[in-house]
């Protein structure tokens, strides 16, 4: 990690991600309609909205996971560090190293805890045992689970509880030192206690990593995020500080949603 550092092409500036005029289509269906938003560095930004509103779709654009979806067409620009990530000559590896992702359901690989965390670093050419071990320790510490797992590094990751698995996935994402971490409803499959731990973790991580979190849980967004964007049927209805969204939203739709009248 010290000797083999890959030159970061996406050096995050004060605006971590800048999205302009984003339209996205799945075949003939338009899933995102003219989205414009800037995500600030060092903050937690939450995307909220009812099912099918496009929030997860937008999130997956930021590390280009939508490339995997057949028939998906994206217009507009996503700039990270001043570069359009959909532009020519962008290396997906470098992009995804800088923009990590945690999924809805914990998805550790069916190997040991250690191998889960070293998968990323090995991919980037780190072979030295000592360096790898240091990365494992560092990542697990940052994910606040070093004490729980330090004696079980060679145990299968599948033997962990759901909450532990999800935090392991966060540690795995941190192992390649991303500047931005995308979280796609990371707690929707977890119990309240595990959820609490992950929320705490997010608050600790945000100093070094810009976090964008998609959540169904409005209380979660209110608790942990600095800014909140409210999406509805593919449109960004309102985007402001979390405090404002939840206390004094500008748009009627936002108010209806946060007061639980639909969704």
């Amino acid at each position: 990690m010290k000797e083999k550092r890959i030159t970061d092409k996406f050096e995050v500036t004060d605006v971590a991600v800048s999205m302009k005029n984003v339209n996205l289509y799945y075949g003939a269906f338009q899933a995102l309609k003219n989205i414009n938003m800037d995500v600030a560095k060092g903050e937690i930004t939450a995307f909220i909205g009812p099912s099918g509103c496009g929030k997860s779709t937008l999130l997956k654009c930021i590390n280009r996971m939508n490339d995997l979806v057949e028939g998906c067409r994206i217009e507009g620009t996503f700039e990270i560090g001043g570069r359009n990530i959909y532009g020519a000559g962008v290396d997906l590896q470098t992009l995804r190293r800088n923009v990590g992702m945690v999924f809805q359901k914990p998805n550790p690989f069916p190997v040991s805890v250690y191998d889960n965390i070293t998968y990323g670093p090995r991919l980037y050419g780190i072979r030295d045992k000592a360096t790898l071990s240091a990365i494992v320790e560092d990542s697990l510490k940052r994910a606040a689970m070093w004490d729980e797992l330090k004696d079980r590094l060679d145990k299968s990751a599948l033997a962990l509880s759901g909450g532990q698995q999800q935090r392991l996935c966060i540690a795995r994402a941190l192992s390649v030192q991303p500047q931005i971490l995308l979280m796609d409803e990371p707690t929707s499959a977890l119990d309240p206690i595990s959820t609490g731990k992950i929320e705490e973790l997010c608050a600790e991580l945000k100093e070094k990593v810009t976090i964008i979190i998609v959540t169904h849980n409005m209380q979660q967004a209110a608790r942990i995020s600095d800014k909140t964007g409210f999406f509805l049927l593919g449109e960004l209805i309102e985007y402001a500080s979390t405090e404002k969204i939840f206390s004094n939203p500008e748009k009627e739709q936002t108010e209806r949603y946060i007061t639980g009248r639909f969704g």
Binding site: C53, G89, D91, F103, Q104, N107, L232
Partner: protein
Amino acid sequence: MKQGFNLSKIKEGVAKAVFALAACFAVLSVAAIIGYLLYAGIPAFRETGVGNFLFSTTWAPGYDGPASEKFGILPMIVGSTIATGGALLIGGTLGVAVAVFIVYFCPAKFKMPLVQTVSVLAGIPSVIYGYFGLKQIVPALAAISPNGNGTGVLAVSLVLGIMILPTVASLTKDALEAVPAAYYEGALALGLTKEQSVFKVLVPSAKSGISTALGLGIGRAVGETMAVIMVAGNTVQFPKGLFDGFMTLTGNIVMDMSYASGVHRSALVATGFVLLLFILVLNGILYAVKGKGRKERRKFRFSIKNAGDKGASKVGNALAGFYNRCADGAAEIAQKVKMTALKATDKISCATNAAVTAVLGKGTDKEGKPIYKKAGGGYIVLKVLCAVGTLIMVASVAYLIGFIVVKGTQAFIETGFVNFMFGKGGAGKNSLAPAFVSTGALIGISLAISLPIGVCAAIYLVEYAKSGSRIVKVIRLFTDTLSGIPSIVFGLFGVIVFNDALGLGYSLLSGGLTLSVMILPTVVRAVEESLLNVPLSYREASYALGAGKIHTIGKIVLPCALKGILTATVLSVGRIVSESAALLLTAGSVKNMPRGITSPGSSFAVMMYMYASEGLYMNEAYATALVLIVIVIAINAVIFAIGPKKEKKIERKKNNG
């Protein structure tokens, strides 16, 4: 950095091309088999005329010079048809009965043992069936036969019947298990008994699956060679009774091929071509039947979707604005749910209506009101018959294995176990040592070729091709076709291409190459299935860390699918070990120790056939049979041990809004 990027892109491209090429291999193989058989059969067709060849009744290879040669295969066509019909009557009925019993009536603790019995039955080499028929069924039949002849139509029907039973049973079982549980509940809710629900609602709903099972049973029966020639009597004539000898298409090929030349040889290849055509047509029909079922299901799914979308768009057009767009989404969901429910209940009510009428009768009283009679217990009889069918199967397996084990053990005691298994052999002394070496070499050669190709093909189908795209359908169709081709046809293909055209002659290499084409579909399918079982979320996690496709496949997907690859290997070994017809034609039938992969050699199954057919070495034949049975049972045990535990099907290509 730039360079690295290009390099990885090139690597990905090359890998994709390699996988795609491997995937095309099945298509190429089928094309090559058809092409070469036709090509090598043309002289016979030209000499005899296609009509004459198919419909004349005299088969007389040139005993008195080429002028008197006559090649008419009508007796063989009739023979194959009769054998298949008899087998279907016995094996088809029993197979369906066994499946119904296993799925619906079997006490839970007997279920796994029965399923295992079926798969052991499927794995037993055809030479053993043939030998069992020759030694047990034929003498028993001779005792009751009016002409004192045990071989012939009845013997073949019985032996082939037992052989196709596992094919029919296991596929029927799959079809029955796929019938939605709601049908059963619906039937019960109308007051049908369990037996009535099973025979009036559930079994009829699995009709297309059962006909596919029977179709594949027909394919197996038509293509069977070694077992048939041991009990058919092999006289070229139209059989007039159950105890008359006859000849099948496959028997004709394998019996003459070793010495035929010129037009005679071409006529044998042409016979193989006719057999191949029959199998291709059969596969075509099965594919159409299956496709129809699939299409209907798809249509059903589409109609739900369209109905939902349409409803949604109407609402959306009529009322603009936010509320309505919300309502829109809700309506779509509601509509979908409703449609699904409606369709499902529709299907159930159709099925149950039929059931009710069938069970309760259509009788009405004087005022025209229906009379509801208490349902009769006739279906109990059917249930008992299913149980009896299962008992017959279990008894047959027990008898067959018991017979081989007892006789084989005796034989080993008489010949001396160590001597016979590992002795030096040669000059009047028999030994299985050459068979160990030959079988090992054949396994090695064919796995070395078809495992890499099969794994790459499966990777292409699962990881690269769009699911449901035309290319996947074509490749899958050809893979299925390849797996349905009888081994004797592979044997002919091997003779024409590897023995003759490539000049390999009778050799282990030629046999191994032939086998590798033969086992390819087994490998592709087993690996494909295990790749599909690797959760999509593993791949996503890997991509999200920046890994490329080939890295993800190599480091995550393949290691997870290792079990499947292992299963494919073991299944292939089973297929190779029990194969005889194709090897007899390509690798020869010598008893000597092979000197290398270019020298001929006999596997266990071929060796056993030689011992059995020469009539001099019954002990050796029994002992070899015992070795084969032990291998088959061991293979089944291994597959059972590593086999996929019932995992939930993971939905692929799912995307979250």
